[in-house]
């Protein structure tokens, strides 16, 4: 088979300049993206690091003073930061525990080519894409202690019950986990469904010929084939719930008390309600550091 001498790997003395020209034109193609990413990601993080070492506050006129690690001592290594980190971790872990099994089960159902499966798929896609703020408000309404539909459903079972999820710390936390699950299970389902459909049928047929029962097939074929997708789903879901803001803001606003105040809420309140930019930046920098494991895991699973 004849190969083109120009592109087909023949080493000519001109190869290196050609490659350099290609890499340079590539730089031209990606420079707008690079520029805007530096402006909205790299620079703000550098500025944030600097500001976290100052007493900058919008309530105080004049230039901010450099105060070293004071903000970290007063805002990061504190009980309230620890509590917010705990809330964040609880939401992440509980959500994953709820979302993975249900998402997997639904993906299995959809992969069996049930009737009207495309209708189901569309219906399942809807919660995933809906505006988080609107979803939060919707659930705030459903969970309203006085006239919410959740109270009504509970009262059908036990007419004396008057549940008020929003007034108890564990109730509010569970409500947030439930809302997050409601909107993100579809994502887990569709990702795992794509993974399931990518497993070649021949593998199952061969296993059936060898006399493997359905559990063995699931354990030795389905699960290993799904592992990469499962890993991506876990990383993305954990990163997504780590940064969660809209849902907390609208469903509980961090309450009751500070029982559902996660790290994003904590940083937001410090910066945009108290205008303590320096302190808020210290919290933000700590959040960035805590996101590092997700960052490395993401680079690995997404091969970036």
């Amino acid at each position: 088979m004849p190969t083109s001498p120009v592109v087909g790997g023949v080493r000519s003395p001109h190869r290196s300049p050609i490659r350099r020209r290609r890499r340079l034109s590539g730089l031209a193609f990606l420079s707008p993206a690079l520029g805007i990413l530096i402006i909205v990601i790299a620079l703000p993080m550098a500025i944030g690091l600097y500001q976290s070492l100052t007493n900058m506050a919008l309530t105080r006129p004049g230039a901010p003073d450099f105060i070293g690690s004071t903000n970290y001592e007063n805002r990061v290594f504190t009980a309230s930061f620890g509590r917010a980190a705990g809330v964040t971790a609880s939401i992440m872990v509980l959500s994953l525990i709820v979302q993975l099994p249900i998402g997997y089960y639904l993906a299995l159902c959809l992969s069996r080519r049930i009737p009207a499966s495309s209708v189901f798929r569309t219906i399942l896609t809807i919660p995933m894409m809906l505006t988080p703020v609107a979803v939060g408000l919707m659930w705030r309404f459903l969970a309203d202690p006085d006239l919410g539909v959740i109270r009504w459903i509970v009262s059908l079972v036990d007419s004396s019950a008057h549940p008020n999820l929003l007034a108890s710390s564990s109730g509010a936390l569970l409500l947030i986990v439930a809302v997050s699950s409601w909107s993100h299970i579809p994502f887990v389902t569709l990702m795992l469904l794509a993974g399931l459909l990518a497993v070649p049928d021949e593998l199952y047929e061969a296993a059936a010929v060898d006399g493997a029962n359905s559990w063995q097939r699931r354990w030795h074929i389905t699960l290993p084939s799904l592992a990469p997708v499962l890993l991506i789903v876990c990383v993305l879901r954990l990163a997504g719930d780590y940064r969660m803001f809209d849902l907390v803001y609208t469903v509980t606003n961090g309450g009751p008390g500070s029982s559902t105040r996660n790290l994003s809420m904590l940083a937001y309140m410090e910066g945009l309600q108290y205008y303590q930019i320096g302190r808020a930046c210290a919290i933000a920098m700590a959040m960035a550091l805590l996101a590092l494991p997700a960052f490395f895991a993401y680079r690995k699973v997404a091969r970036l």
Partner: protein, 261 residues
Amino acid sequence: MSVAAVISLAPVLWTVSTSFKNQLEAQQYPPSLLPQRVKLSNYTDLFTDSDFHAAALTSIIVTICVTALVLLIAFPCAYALVRLNAYGSKLVLLLIALAQTVPAIVVLIPLYSTVAKLHLYDTRTALVLVYTGLLIPFSTLVLMGFIRSVPVEIEDAALVDGCGRLKVLLWIVLPMARPALATAAVFTAIYSWNEFLIAAVLGGERARPLTVLISHFVSQKTILWGPMTAAVSLVLLPVVVAVILLQRQLVAGLTAGATKG
């Protein structure tokens, strides 16, 4: 499966149903399943409200500008990353991974004071710029996945024929990439329509999209459920329509393996 479908839809339908009730019925307990008399006043009130108009306009303008800009910037970027081994690739990929894993609030607080200094606070320009920057990674990943999947031979043939890289990009890759571009566009548009935190931090009274406007309903002492459910329904409507019409593109984009968290 049917149970899952009901649980997916019921909260939305319930919200829509409440939006057609009058004030009295919306606040009554036990709630009625369907409005006793369909009432449109919650909607007509919104349509005549100038704040709502301004917010809707901001949402629409920002969504359109961001979608156009993101595609314009992400497409050549994705091509350069996959095919050209470009200088700066490593840095771009690093920043993309950062954008996907570091919470937005981390960059937004420093941006808040910076944007204020540049007199861009509470402008649509600032919103468009920051939305674009934070949404470029997702589209770039979707487009990279697509470009990787098409054979490089066609491009090579064109290069041998003396086409420049830009011509190859515009005349050969672009037409083939149309489905992937559509997917990226749908996601970008929905994500910018849905975006809340960026606008809550960088926008005030003038550059206020619908998401921020409706969030004010819960900060009031008594929540007016009728108007709130109507506003929520209006915000969700375009998304639901988009999902129903474009479900295939959405699932394709999702399973391209790259997704915003």
